[in-house]
């Protein structure tokens, strides 16, 4: 066997190993999805989506839960989007290499690793008690915004970094100010990446139960919220509540609610991919 044969063999071996590694994750996901769909899909119908929670599993629905989840998503986006993108732009375009900025960067990276329940405790003290928002949608959205801010900041920076230096130089050469360059060139060019980051961050927020339970999100809410100051529940809390019940039928309900939550998450991811592709087509350098 020649040396190049051995190398080819190694290449082949790694190729197969790579496929194997990729499939382990997918197989686990597939088993999980299959199990959930088999158990829950028969339970999903119009009544399930439009009914209030109930002690009778067959009459219980998730209306208040999914409406609460959508409210939380919209409010969290409105809060986290401008804050996160602005912070990312500042760190990437304006901040000079200094101790303070280094310190900021390290801490933002650290924040991304803080367990979500800690954000819940922070939210409970600051938003619920100090700011007197109570267990409202607004308090929940603010807490989740804190939770996903580090993710948005990091992805925004990555997206901005990917914009070629020459675009900025060209803009400056034409006499544009820094702000004009960022607003008219850098942001539009990186927007696909930024959006992807935001939507992936929201997909994380939409599955959180722990921080929201801490700030006082409820399990039984017989009315849909009509303002950001209303009390609320979300799908993950409803799922958590149902999975811990002794009756088998509630587990079926939980599986059905998980399917709805997955559909919401997949829809978000789909929107992210769509927007990114559209964006990429528009950029012509």
């Amino acid at each position: 066997m020649t040396n190049s044969d051995i190398n080819r063999l190694k290449d082949k071996a790694f190729h197969i190993f790579g496929i194997f590694c990729t499939f382990i994750g997918l197989v686990v996901l597939a088993i999980f999805l299959f199990d959930i769909v088999v158990e829950g899909v028969g339970r999903i119908n119009w009544d399930f989506l439009t009914s209030l929670p109930s002690r009778r599993a067959s009459r219980a629905g998730i209306l208040t839960a999914w409406v609460g989840t959508l409210w939380i998503l919209v409010l969290t986006t409105l809060i986290a989007f401008p804050l996160g993108v602005s912070a990312g732009v500042y760190l990437e375009e304006y901040a000079k290499k200094s101790r303070i900025n280094n310190f900021l960067e390290i801490n933002i990276a650290n924040l991304a690793g803080v367990p979500s329940i800690i954000y819940g405790l922070l939210g409970l003290e600051i938003f619920v008690r100090q700011m007197r928002l109570g267990g409202s949608l607004l308090a929940g959205a603010l807490t989740l915004s804190l939770l996903i801010l580090p993710i948005i900041i990091v992805t925004t920076r990555e997206a901005i970094k990917a914009v070629p230096r020459s675009i900025r130089d060209g803009s400056y050469a034409l006499g544009a100010s820094k702000w004009q360059t960022v607003w008219n060139q850098v942001l539009p060019a990186s927007f696909g990446g930024i959006l992807t980051g935001i939507i992936l961050a929201l997909s994380r927020a939409v599955g959180e139960a722990a921080p929201l339970i801490v700030i006082g999100a409820l399990a039984y809410v017989p009315f849909t919220p009509s303002s950001p100051l209303d009390e609320f529940t979300v799908l993950p809390i409803q799922i958590f509540n149902w999975t811990s019940r002794p009756q088998e039928e509630f587990l079926t309900n939980a599986a059905a609610a998980i399917i709805i939550l997955l559909i919401i998450t997949f829809m978000l991811n789909g929107i992210a991919v769509y927007l990114r592709n559209r964006q990429q087509k528009k950029i012509k350098w």
Binding site: R55, G216, Y220, P246
Partner: protein, 330 residues
């Protein structure tokens, strides 16, 4: 150059937002309804064990008084009492009585309260169905298994009773945060929160059911409802409290033995606590009375054991006096 403007992104966002709001508004219009001239809101939080009962009552109460907005949270007995003693909620669901430390916070904040038992739960000791040696167990043996001193020492079945096999014993129980754990340790070991640490703990009782049903050497305990729903996968162990005045010998937990108190000491009451602030509102008073009227039927429906009828009457009387007493202060 770029021919893209941020405004088209704004447009996308606006469409999304609009669609969301459209969806969210379609459920909100069925608030009106006949009957019940009461209105207001009642905030309840606390134990996830008591939650199913309160949820059931809140659900039925909607038919009674559709304009009263009852909300129920599940932040746990401890978390619920924290909010309750700060005056943030009206009623707390509790799977154990209030602690002294919590009572003193309530006093500092000028909140008085009334404790109302609403149902029983029988803590059930279970083993695997293939376990053919355990027929019953005494309260002393349970203590020997679970007390802190047993840690690392009591590890085999024959250490508990010589005629049981020389096999490892695997223990399953609720996590230390739960009221169920507090009650069990209090009743068995004699001190709330004191037990060995080397057992499989889970806050989710379904996990415990799963564990015991797949492990021949398992012994576990949890709420009666979880046994009742999984009778085919578990074997219940009758418990002998070594006192003959309330039923001789080992007693199996059933609706009757828990209700009449002969399944001792492992049947425990579930409570609601009502705050003096809350009784100022006629809606809350009406709701609590409705709770006590319907708890017998509804608690059984969700898997708990109702108290004897005369006890609900006593609780109603107790609540009436409390409500009148606090009303005078105002």
């Amino acid at each position: 150059m770029l021919n893209f403007k941020l405004s088209s992104v704004k447009f996308n966002a606006a469409v999304l937002l609009g669609a969301t709001l459209m969806f969210s508004s379609c459920g909100g219009n069925n608030e009106e309804g006949a009957g019940g001239d009461l209105s207001g809101s009642i905030q309840i939080d606390g134990s996830s064990t008591v939650y199913p009962v309160t949820e059931a009552v809140a659900e039925e109460y909607r038919a009674e008084a559709p304009d009263v907005k009852v909300t129920v949270g599940v932040s746990g007995t401890g978390g619920g009492f924290k909010k309750f003693t700060r005056g943030e909620i009206d009623i707390v669901d509790a799977s154990r009585p209030i602690k002294d430390s919590e009572a003193s916070v309530a006093q500092e904040n000028g909140i008085s309260y009334v404790e109302l038992p609403v149902a029983y739960d029988g803590l059930t000791v279970v083993v695997n169905p293939e376990n053919d040696w355990v027929k019953d167990i005494t309260i002393d043996e349970l203590k020997k298994i679970w007390e802190p001193a047993a840690q690392g020492k009591i590890t085999r079945w024959n250490q508990i009773r010589p005629e049981w096999p020389n096999q490892e014993i695997h223990l399953y129980g609720p996590g230390v945060e739960s009221g169920t754990y507090d009650y069990f340790t209090e009743a068995v070991v004699g001190e709330s929160g004191a037990s060995r640490g080397d057992y499989t703990a889970s806050e989710d009782d379904n996990v415990l059911v799963q564990g015991v049903s797949t492990d021949v050497n398992a012994l576990g305990f949890f709420g009666y409802a979880y046994y009742d729903e999984n009778k085919d996968k578990l074997k219940v162990v009758p418990v002998d409290d070594l006192k003959d005045d309330n039923g001789k010998g080992a007693i199996t937990p059933t609706l009757e033995t828990v209700k009449d108190g002969s399944y001792a000491p492992l049947s425990r009451p579930l409570f609601i606590y009502v705050s003096s602030k809350a009784t100022q509102s006629p809606a809350t008073v009406d709701f609590v009375n409705f709770y006590l009227d319907s708890a017998a039927e509804l608690s059984q429906e969700v898997g708990y054991i109702p108290m004897p009828a005369e006890m609900y009457k006593e609780q109603k009387e107790k609540f009436k006096q409390f409500a009148e007493g606090t009303a005078k202060k105002q």
